[in-house]
C-alpha cells in the first residue's frame, strides 16, 4: 500500500516537473542559478504583493527596464545578500515574452491540487 502511494507521488512529481522553457532558462534562470538567486521565491513575493498576473507582468517589465532598488518589490536586506541587477539589453517584445514564460512556468495555479475533497477536484 505504502509502496503504491510512493510510486504514485513520484509519478505525479515527474509529470508536474515539466521542462523549463528555453526562453526562461536563457533569459532568467541561467543568471539566477549562477548567482543563486531564488527565482520562485521572487515570484511568490510578487504574487504576495501584486496578486494578479497582469500587475506582476507590468511591474516586472518596468523593473527590468530600470532595475533600481527603489523600484524593486524585494526588501532592502535582499540586496545586501544579492547583487543589484543590471538592466537587460533585450528588446521589449522578447522581454515581454520572457516575462510571460517566467510567470507561466512558476504559475501557482498550476501547482495547486485538491486532496480527498468530498466534492470533485474540478471546482463547481
Amino acid at each position: 500500500m505504502v509502496n503504491k502511494f510512493l510510486i504514485l507521488v513520484l509519478f505525479a512529481t515527474l509529470v508536474q516537473s515539466k521542462e523549463v522553457p528555453p526562453l526562461v532558462q536563457q533569459n532568467c534562470l541561467n543568471c539566477h542559478m549562477q548567482q543563486k538567486i531564488p527565482s520562485e521565491f521572487i515570484y511568490r513575493r510578487y504574487l504576495m504583493k501584486l496578486s494578479t498576473k497582469e500587475r506582476i507582468k507590468e511591474h516586472l517589465f518596468s523593473y527590468l527596464k530600470n532595475p533600481e532598488i527603489a523600484n524593486s518589490i524585494m526588501p532592502k536586506q535582499f540586496f545586501l545578500k544579492f547583487p543589484k541587477k543590471k538592466a537587460l539589453d533585450l528588446n521589449d517584445t522578447l522581454l515581454e515574452e520572457s516575462i510571460e514564460a517566467y510567470l507561466d512556468y512558476f504559475d501557482v495555479k498550476k501547482k495547486l491540487r485538491l486532496k480527498n475533497h468530498r466534492t470533485a477536484t474540478t471546482p463547481k
Binding site: R55, K111, L112, L114, T119
Partner: protein, 418 residues
C-alpha cells in the same frame, strides 16, 4: 263578554305552567353550575377579547424572540465560518512558503472555500459559486452561508478568501418547535386563566340575574293563584248571578287577563331555554281567531275596529304554547298602543301573517332598539318591554322572518313570514 270556552282553558294551562315552573326551578337549583346564556355570552366576549389581545401580544413577543434567537444562531454559524477561515488562512500562508509540488489546497470537512485575486478572478478552491456578494462580509445565498475575508498579504496571490457552509437548519427547527410548544402551553394556560377570570368578573352579573330570576319566579308563582281565582270567580259570577255592575266586572276581567298574559310572558322568559317544546302541526287560522276572541274584552274597551282577513286552514309546525305567546304579544301590543276607536287589520295567508294597527307609531331609529328586552319606545302605556323580545325570540327559534314597519304617527305593521 267573557268567552266561557276560553277562561277555563287559560286556568287549566296556568295550572300546568305552574307545575312546569316548579319542576324547572327544581332542575335549575340542582344544576347550580349551569351557565346562564347572558353570562355565557359575556364570558365568550371576554374570552375572545382577552385571548385575541393576549395572542397578539404573545405572537409579537414570540416573533421578536424568534428573530433574536435566529440572529444568535446565525451569529454562531458565522463564527464557525470565521474560525474556519482562520484555519484556512494559516494553511494558505504555509502553502505560500512551500516550494514543493504539488501544493495541496486546504481541505476542511463540511466547509467549502475558494480564493480570488485582486481582480476578483477565481484562483482555486473546493467550490466556485456563481454569485458572490463582494461588498458583504457575511451573507446567505439559498441554504448556504458565506464568509468573505479580504486577505493581506496576498498569499498565493489571493486577495479574497470565500468560505461557505450549508446552513444548519436543526437549531432553527428546534427553536420553532420550542416556540410552538410554548405558544400551545401558554394558550392552554391563558384560556384556563381567562375562563377563571371571566367567571370571576361575571359572577356579580350572574348573581344579579339569578336574583332577578328568583324574583320573577316567586312573583309569577304568587301571581298565578290569585289571577286564576279572579278569572274563575268572574266566570262563576257571570254564569250564576245577574250582576248589575257589568262594566266594573269587565274592567276586572280585563285587568285579570292583562295579569294572566304577563304571567305567561314571564314564565316564557324564565323557561325559554329549558322548556320542552312539542312541535306539532297547528291550525294557525283557528288559533288566530281563538286568540283574538281572548282579547275581545280589551278590544271592546278601547272600541277598536278589527278587520280580519284570515284564510282558512293555514297550518304551521310549531309548539302550541310558543304560537300563543307569539300571537298574544303581537295582539297585546296592537291593542295597547292603538288609539281609542282605532283599527287593527289582521291578514293571514299561507306563509304570511300581517297585523297593522293604528297608533302613534314607532320612530324608525327606535324599531331596532325596542326589540331588545326591557326596551320600550313609548312609556305612556304600562309594561316591562318584553313583548317584542318574546316575538323576536320565537321568530328566531322557528326561522320566521320578522319585519316591523312603522314611523312617527304612522300605523305599525308587523309582518311574520315563514
Amino acid at each position: 263578554m267573557i268567552k266561557h270556552s276560553v277562561v277555563p282553558s287559560v286556568k287549566a294551562r296556568s295550572k300546568i305552567e305552574v307545575v312546569k315552573v316548579v319542576r324547572v326551578v327544581n332542575f335549575i337549583n340542582r344544576q347550580a353550575i349551569v351557565m346562564l346564556s347572558s353570562e355565557k355570552r359575556s364570558l365568550i366576549r371576554f374570552l375572545i377579547i382577552y385571548l385575541s389581545s393576549t395572542f397578539v401580544l404573545f405572537a409579537l413577543g414570540t416573533y421578536i424572540f424568534y428573530n433574536f434567537q435566529k440572529h444568535q444562531i446565525m451569529d454562531s454559524q458565522n463564527d464557525k465560518l470565521q474560525l474556519k477561515s482562520e484555519h484556512i488562512l494559516q494553511k494558505l500562508r504555509e502553502l505560500h512558503q512551500t516550494f514543493d509540488q504539488p501544493l495541496f489546497y486546504p481541505n476542511e470537512p463540511s466547509f467549502d472555500s475558494a480564493i480570488y485575486n485582486l481582480d476578483k478572478a477565481y484562483i482555486f478552491g473546493t467550490f466556485n459559486p456563481k454569485k458572490i456578494a463582494w461588498d458583504k462580509e457575511f451573507y446567505q445565498d439559498g441554504e448556504k452561508l458565506f464568509y468573505l475575508y479580504r486577505m493581506k498579504p496576498y498569499y498565493l496571490g489571493a486577495v479574497y478568501l470565500l468560505v461557505g457552509q450549508d446552513l444548519d437548519k436543526k437549531p432553527f427547527e428546534a427553536l420553532v418547535r420550542m416556540l410552538v410548544l410554548f405558544l400551545i402551553g401558554a394558550g392552554v394556560l391563558l384560556t384556563l386563566l381567562g375562563f377563571f377570570l371571566g367567571r370571576l368578573f361575571t359572577a356579580p352579573m350572574r348573581e344579579s340575574i339569578e336574583m332577578m330570576d328568583r324574583f320573577i319566579e316567586d312573583t309569577t308563582h304568587e301571581l298565578n293563584t290569585p289571577v286564576s281565582t279572579i278569572l274563575s270567580n268572574i266566570e262563576l259570577i257571570d254564569t250564576l248571578y245577574e250582576c248589575e255592575g257589568k262594566t266594573e266586572m269587565k274592567r276586572i276581567e280585563m285587568a285579570s287577563k292583562t295579569l294572566s298574559r304577563l304571567y305567561e310572558d314571564l314564565t316564557f322568559l324564565k323557561l325559554n331555554h329549558n322548556y320542552h317544546r312539542k312541535i306539532e302541526k297547528l291550525n294557525l287560522s283557528n288559533l288566530l281567531i281563538e286568540r283574538l276572541a281572548f282579547y275581545d274584552t280589551l278590544i271592546e274597551a278601547k272600541a277598536i275596529k278589527v278587520v280580519k282577513d284570515i284564510a282558512p286552514d293555514v297550518f304551521i309546525e310549531m309548539d302550541h304554547n310558543d304560537a300563543i305567546r307569539l300571537l298574544d304579544n303581537i295582539f297585546s301590543n296592537a291593542i295597547k298602543y292603538n288609539y281609542k276607536s282605532g283599527r287593527i287589520e289582521v291578514t293571514l295567508t299561507a306563509g304570511k301573517l300581517e297585523i297593522i294597527n293604528d297608533g302613534e307609531g314607532i320612530r324608525k331609529e327606535d324599531i331596532r332598539l325596542i326589540q331588545s328586552r326591557f326596551k320600550r319606545a313609548n312609556s305612556s302605556e304600562g309594561g316591562f318591554g318584553i313583548g317584542l323580545d318574546i316575538i323576536g325570540q320565537i321568530a328566531k327559534r322557528y326561522n320566521f322572518k320578522l319585519e316591523i314597519i312603522s314611523d312617527t304617527n304612522q300605523p305599525t305593521k308587523v309582518i311574520l313570514s315563514w
